[in-house]
């Protein structure tokens, strides 16, 4: 089934699976309940001389339709918890880090630069154009300068708000090279709809080459105050 767009992060398959599992469970519930609704409505429409059955309920049935959904839902919750813990509950060890500072209406993407440190004058800072190596976990540190933004890469299934005053770490490991889009998912002002960025996933050696080029281009004045 390919109802969701192609996912290109290591965790997108588990999110998609979770989605399809819920779709299957709710799909069955949907079909059964809607079918009963239509069937009952047609089957029991008023007819001459037929009186409705006088009943106030049935406690056995009440038990069944309380417990069955409860068990299903808790099971869905528990399996979601595993996936969730894997995505947002931990950060796999990695030396590849990116800092993203969001502001109205711009994604400012920071790489460490030649010295391997953030917040130094040789940091690489690029606006709205992000590159990542494929098959390598990347830690993304999110900040915001003004209002809440939300870093959203549909192809990764990754979404995380960038909140002023907080520093929030997420991670992703891309599984396929190509270009993808970054969007802002939290209303951030009149330019919210235009806060678009580009994301390129490169082979590791190409990524290193690209990064070196960027480092060579750094004009120290562009760096943020340490």
């Amino acid at each position: 089934m390919h109802w969701l767009p192609e996912g290109v992060s290591t965790y997108s398959p588990s999110i998609d699976t979770m989605f399809y599992v819920i779709l299957a469970v709710t799909g069955v519930a949907f079909i059964v309940t809607e079918a009963l609704l239509f069937y009952f409505a047609l089957r029991y429409r008023a007819r001459q001389g037929v009186r409705a059955t006088y009943t106030h309920g049935n406690s056995r049935l009440e038990m069944i339709w309380t417990i069955v959904p409860a068990v299903m839902l808790v099971l869905l919750g528990l399996s979601s918890r595993r996936v969730w813990g894997d995505i947002k509950g931990r950060i796999p060890p990695t030396d590849q880090e990116v800092v993203i500072v969001a502001s109205q209406f711009d994604w400012e993407i920071h790489y460490k630069g030649a010295d391997g440190q953030f917040d130094t004058p040789d940091d690489v800072v690029i606006h709205n154009d992000m590159s990542l190596p494929v098959n390598k976990p990347v830690k993304i540190r999110l900040r915001s300068k003004d209002v809440i933004h939300s870093f959203f890469v549909p192809a990764f299934r990754l979404k995380q708000d960038a909140v002023p005053g907080l520093t929030i770490d997420v991670w992703v490991e891309a599984t396929k090279t190509g270009t993808y889009e970054i969007a802002c998912a939290e209303l951030c002002g009149f330019g919210h709809g235009t806060m678009r960025g580009q994301l390129t996933v490169l082979e590791p050696d190409e990524f290193q080459k690209w990064l070196k080029e960027q480092e060579a281009n750094v004009v120290p004045a562009e760096a943020p105050p340490a």
Binding site: W3, L4, P5, I15, F19, I22, T26, A29, F30, T33, E34, L37, F40, A41, Y44, R45, A46, R51, A52, T53, T55, H56, G57, L61, W65, T66, P69, L73, L76, G77, R81, W84, I87, K88, G89, D146, V147, I148, S150, F152, P154, K159, Q160, D161, V163, P164, G165, L166, I168, E181, A183, A185, E186, L187, C188, F190, G191, H192, G193, R196
Partner: protein, 579 residues
């Protein structure tokens, strides 16, 4: 208060500054319906922009500057006001204000509310609140543009939106409307606890009353928390404080916690009354007792109680601790259970009934079928990892419209069809309303179902031009389709509006019990006089759902009809099935 004063009241005291719960209910009704027109119109503008982002609205030159969505800042204002008006000025006041006021005393057999003056005040506070919100369109800088959720810092500092006074008026208006809600809630709770007619035990109350009762409790407990948050926001905006500004030591997420602590219960404020109405309507037109009355009551109570511990499900991606997210996920999963119970009991009520497809019934069935979709889509979003993808996409928009339009509003249409004769003493034309139902149900689904698919494609909400994104471009035809369906959905409402107004003057006169229903309001004349019943209040002998009872030849048995020679049904719930 006594009957004889009725004729001495001047027009103003009788219809404007009235203390009669029925008049106040009708005042709320008209206010909400008028705002519904405004809110619906704004929705059409939103859909035009999304369906046809390159084309100017045909009537753009006639719109006030602040409503022309071609300017992205105005687009934000338009959907913000659409949401705010629909929630704070349409659904909440129509359910709690209009139906709460009109129905509670009539259904429990009281002459009026416990505090008629407070009741009058609650309307005359709500109306200025609404007018303040409406006036914000016309102030310098335009109206609020931060969504109905008004997340700071965006909403806290004019420099981020360019909206100054407009957003402040929004805050003030919501505060005032909240005050009105609390006044109403105090009245409803006191009235229901204290003023039930003789024999009207709690477990003989119609589910509409139960639902309105629980709703009032939610309003009472949740609204003040919103007020505290709004107060902080107002201080941040006007007095330079930093509740939500991290630069001054504030916490951005504090607003979200307080806001959703109110607004999650508020979504139940917006649907529980409809659930009650639908239960009554389905039972009446299936000519069959409601299935599992007590289960219905306890699931209402359960939803309300659990409703206070699930607010974090709106904040899974907000930066809240992920472990807390897990806890909120589990509680959210659990809250879907009472919704499931209610659905099955509605189905159980239809089973082996004798179903009459009046417009009220059709709308109630539409409620059930769309609420199923909305409840099930909630489960996707309750799953934290799945929500990471669909949060703030059109999947959410689909969900909330399935529960609020499909749920609450079909409930309202059902209730209006059902109680119109009681309110105005005349019948609406049922053919017109059946056509209205067919069109509304069809176009509703054509409008909102595809939004799930947009959301699955990652389509963000609150963006004004989807074609700016490569990955959204292929979905633009669907956006156009949705917009056209939405226009047709909007146009279909003219039928109902026309029928509503026409029938006020020309409708067939209604008898006191046109649906052969059981609850007490049908024992009063249509429309009921001041103080509802003549000199004697009805006495209640049984629950409200004794349809097709073997004790009588007719297929209904009003709550207030004494049966000579038959045992009075047991105290609370009538005896179990005999058939």
């Amino acid at each position: 208060m006594s009957l004889k004063h009725e004729h001495e009241l001047s027009f103003i005291r009788k219809y404007i500054f009235s203390m009669d719960h029925k008049i106040i209910g009708i005042q709320f009704l008209f206010m909400s319906l008028l705002f519904m027109i405004v809110g619906g119109f704004l929705a059409m503008i939103v859909r035009w922009q999304l369906g046809f982002p390159d084309r100017e609205i045909p009537f753009a030159s006639h719109l006030p500057e602040s409503l022309n969505p071609a300017d992205p800042a105005h687009y934000n204002a338009v959907f913000t006001m659409h949401g705010s008006i629909m929630i704070f000025l349409v659904i909440i006041p129509i359910l709690a204000g209009a139906f709460g006021n009109f129905l509670i005393p009539l259904l429990i057999g009281a002459r009026d509310m416990a505090f008629p003056k407070l009741n009058m005040l609650s309307f005359w506070v709500a109306l200025p609140g609404g007018l303040i919100m409406a006036s914000s369109f016309f102030v310098e800088g335009g109206t609020a543009a931060t969504g109905w959720t008004a997340y700071p810092p965006l909403s806290a500092d004019p420099q981020y939106t360019g909206v100054g006074l407009g957003q402040t008026l929004w805050v003030v208006s919501v505060l005032i409307l909240g005050t009105s809600s609390i006044m109403g809630a105090v009245n409803y709770i006191t009235t229901i606890v204290n003023m039930r007619a003789p024999g009207m035990h709690f477990f003989r109350m119609p589910l509409s009353v139960w639902a309105l009762f629980i709703t009032a409790i939610l309003q009472l407990m949740a609204t003040p928390v919103l007020a505290s948050a709004l107060g902080m926001l107002l201080f941040d905006r006007t007095l330079g404080t930093h509740f939500f500004n991290p630069a001054g030591g504030g916490q951005v997420l504090l607003w979200q916690h307080l806001f959703w602590f109110y607004s999650h219960p508020a979504v139940y404020i917006m649907i529980l009354p409809s659930m009650g109405f639908v239960s009554d309507i389905i039972s009446t037109f299936s000519r069959k007792p409601i299935f599992g009355y007590k289960a219905m009551v306890f699931s209402l109570v359960g939803i309300a109680g659990l409703g206070f511990i699930v607010w974090g499900h709106h904040m899974f991606q907000s930066g809240m601790n992920p472990a807390l997210g897990t806890a909120f996920m589990i509680s959210t999963m659990v809250i879907a259970v009472p919704s499931a119970i209610k659905t099955f009991n509605w189905l159980g009520t239809l089973w082996r009934g004798s179903i009459h497809f009046t417009p009220a019934m059709l709308n109630a069935l539409a409620f059930v079928s769309t609420f199923i979709v909305g409840g099930l889509s909630g489960i996707f979003m309750a799953s934290t990892p799945v929500d990471m993808f669909i949060h703030d996409t059109y999947f959410i928009v689909a969900h909330l419209h399935y529960v609020l339009f499909g749920g609450s509003l079909f409930g309202v249409f059902g209730a209006l069809n059902y109680w119109y004769p009681k309110m105005f003493g005349r019948m609406m034309n049922s053919t017109v309303n059946t056509i209205h139902w067919v069109l509304t149900f069809t176009f509703f689904n054509l409008t909102f179902f595809p939004m799930h698919i947009l959301g699955m494609g990652g389509h963000m909400r609150r963006i004004y031009d989807p074609t700016l994104y490569e990955f959204l471009k292929p979905m633009q035809p669907m956006n156009e389709f949705i917009s056209i369906s939405a226009f047709l959905l909007g146009a279909s409402q003219l039928l109902f509006a026309g029928n509503f107004i026409f029938s006020l003057f020309r409708g067939k006169r209604a008898e006191s019990n046109p649906w052969r229903a059981n609850s007490l309001e049908w024992s009063a004349p249509s429309p009921p006089p001041h103080l509802n019943w003549g000199d004697k209040l009805p006495t209640v002998y049984r629950g409200p759902y004794e349809y097709s009872s073997p004790e009588v030849a007719e297929d209904y048995l009003p709550q207030n009809r004494p049966l000579i020679g038959a045992p009075t049904p047991s105290r609370t719930v009538p005896a179990p099935a005999r058939a």
